[in-house]
């Protein structure tokens, strides 16, 4: 397993992509840098969600709770109680992890079906939105404004723009590497067994509760940390953007379109769709309200109709046709 992991890490494609990601963006004008940062945020979020949604096959919409906790709670702790945001990040991540463990336990204890799980997590997500909007400590409906980013690293400030880029790049890479590591570790095999046939997994002695909780906790804490970093970049903690279930619905869209359960699928989907959405917004945002989202929606429908299995599997097929030796393991 280890070997697999290091082999992926050392593969030429990875290194080239990494090199490009490190060298090119600092040279970009700020508008394009913003698009790159946003894409990285969603690459990280989609990859984090993939651990639960793709590998374990649990379509959790409750992840907006974790992203929201990471963003709103750490901000509120800083502004209302003066707690350093690094500590806020840790506190939020731990709370997210606990919430994640509880959701996984509920799923296990009540043996929820797929659809029930989707709906219950959606209900949790809606409840989270209502709570944040109704509780002044977390900013209520009007949100919270972080102090200006002066680049003070000890106060969780990275100097905006390029600093935020480095943070997001690290988070995105860590998120993808965790995916690769889990896929090649026993945990990944257990999760896929549970996804493919939970009863069979139980019968051969897989400890379902333990692995479901593990996947959810890892994914929740990662999402929370990304949420904290994202809100630092945005400076304004907007509950409609960060807590509403819409953010997780978007993340699930990227992950699904890219290719669920693969290490790079969700990242691929996000890298394709986020810049598309942003560029459409930039080009058409000032003309007719709604036009850019309209076109975006049409593209999403078209992509899904053309590649119902996700984009990455399709590309892999092309790739393996060109180079028949490449393995296409799932």
């Amino acid at each position: 397993m280890r070997q697999e992991f290091y082999k992926t890490l050392m593969s030429p494609v990875w290194l080239v992509v990494l090199l490009l990601a490190v060298v090119v963006p600092p040279l970009l004008p700020s508008y394009y840098l913003h698009i790159v940062i946003l894409s990285l945020v969603y690459v990280a979020l989609a990859s984090a969600w993939n651990i639960v949604g793709g590998m374990a096959g649990q379509i959790s919409l409750a992840h907006s709770l974790f992203i929201g906790t990471g963003a709103m709670l750490s901000t509120a702790l800083l502004l209302k109680l003066g707690i350093n945001m690094w500590l806020g990040l840790v506190i939020s991540a731990v709370i997210s992890g606990v919430m994640g463990a509880m959701i996984a336990w509920i799923d296990f204890r009540f043996r929820l079906g797929h659809l029930s799980f989707v709906l219950i997590t959606l209900a949790f997500a809606e409840m989270g939105t209502v709570i944040v909007e109704g509780w002044d400590f977390l900013g209520g409906a009007s949100g919270l404004l972080l102090p200006q980013d002066k680049g003070d690293f000890l106060a969780f400030q990275f100097g905006g723009g390029i600093g935020a880029f480095w943070v997001m790049l690290v988070l995105a890479i860590v998120s993808i590497l965790i995916n690769v590591a889990i896929l090649n570790a026993p945990l990944g095999y257990y999760l896929r067994t549970i996804r493919d046939n939970e009863n069979a997994a139980r019968a051969i002695g897989v400890n379902i509760l333990r692995y479901k909780v593990a996947a959810m906790v890892i994914s929740a804490m990662l999402s929370s940390v990304i949420g904290t970093a994202y809100v630092r970049y945005l400076t304004f903690a907007d509950p409609y953007l960060l807590v509403s279930p819409i953010i997780i619905i978007e993340v699930v869209l990227f992950a699904t379109v890219g290719g669920l359960g693969r290490a790079y699928g969700p990242a691929f989907g996000a890298l394709l769709l986020v810049p598309l959405g942003e560029i459409l917004r930039g080009k058409l945002g000032g003309t007719l309200p709604g036009l850019h989202y309209f076109i975006y929606g049409v593209v999403v429908i078209a992509v899904i109709l053309m590649t119902p299995r996700g984009l990455l599997p399709l590309f892999e097929k092309w790739f393996s046709r060109a180079r028949p030796k490449a393995a296409t393991t799932k």
Partner: protein, 288 residues
């Protein structure tokens, strides 16, 4: 006490319409296994079509039904045939994502045509009130209640005793066997989807009088509908109507007796509890 009865009336009246909204989704899910996340946006579409007809021709929402119901039914049929039918047999989540894409298209199409400002569509009955002792109810709500239950009963009879209804039930029970018996499964699924969207056109007109509408409201309606359908055990008719009433009542009581936030949490809390302890839905039998 007056407050209690008032909330009871309010909850029952609104809840019946929630039930009607959910019947369409339940039917579609039962026949084709599609969970339509653009459901709420189709409700929006119905509402905004009424608004458009009012601005253009000064039609009352109830009269607009003559135009909106056939139009929405056709749209529903086309959407199923060209967008959802090709996805049959693929991952459940992909189909859900497709309907989410559709939701974006509908929501922003409406935004492009009507703009983002909240709008109201007047109706002759809008401000009429019905006073029964201590309880004051609005006439549009009463109309909604009566029509919703009439529609539910009508659908029930249709499913029970017409050929089309029997073919729907056949596909619901076992699509393979139905196909072997000569039922055109794709056709039944398409017609059911069209029917489900047609019902939404009616529900939209029922909800419309006195309700401010805006293009971004779709997701909220989708979530309410999903919750009601799940409470009803996904395909059980009686259960779905009952689920609608429960959500309507919990909203009404929540906003009267609890603080704003707690009141809004109540329907979701009740939903989660029922789903955990009665995952098969509210009613015992799963026949319809």
């Amino acid at each position: 006490m007056a407050e209690f009865l008032q909330a009871l009336a309010q909850g029952l009246l609104i809840g019946s319409t929630y039930g009607l909204l959910a019947l369409g989704m339940g039917l579609v899910y039962g026949v084709s296994g599609v969970v339509n996340f653009s459901h709420g946006d189709f409700i929006s579409l119905g509402m905004f079509l009424c608004l458009g007809l009012y601005s253009a021709l000064a039609l009352d929402p109830y009269v607009s039904l003559i135009i909106t119901v056939p139009l929405m039914t056709v749209i529903g049929g086309l959407v199923y045939w060209y967008l959802l039918r090709p996805m049959v047999g693929h991952q459940f989540l992909m189909v859900v994502q497709l309907t989410l894409g559709l939701s974006l298209v509908l929501q922003n199409g409406i935004l492009m045509v009507f703009g983002g400002q909240p709008a109201r569509t007047p109706s002759v009955v809008e401000s009429k009130l019905l006073i029964l002792g201590d309880v004051v109810v609005r006439v549009p709500h009463v109309i909604a209640f009566v029509v919703s239950f009439a529609m539910a009963i009508g659908l029930y009879i249709m499913l029970r005793s017409t050929d089309f209804g029997r073919s729907i039930r056949a596909v619901h029970q076992n699509a393979h066997a139905a196909a072997l018996m000569g039922v055109d499964v794709s056709r039944v699924q398409t017609l059911t989807f069209a029917l489900g969207i047609g019902i939404l056109a009616i529900a939209a007109a029922l909800l419309l009088p006195g309700t401010p509408i805006q293009p971004a409201q779709g997701l909220r309606y989708t979530v309410i509908t999903l919750i009601v359908v799940a409470l009803g055990g996904m395909t059980n008719f009686v259960g779905i109507m009952l689920g609608g009433l429960i959500i309507g009542l919990s909203e009404a009581y929540g906003t009267i007796y609890l603080s704003d936030t707690l009141g809004m949490l109540l329907p979701y809390g009740i939903f989660v509890l029922i789903m955990l302890f009665r995952p098969q839905g509210l009613t015992w039998s799963s026949s319809r």
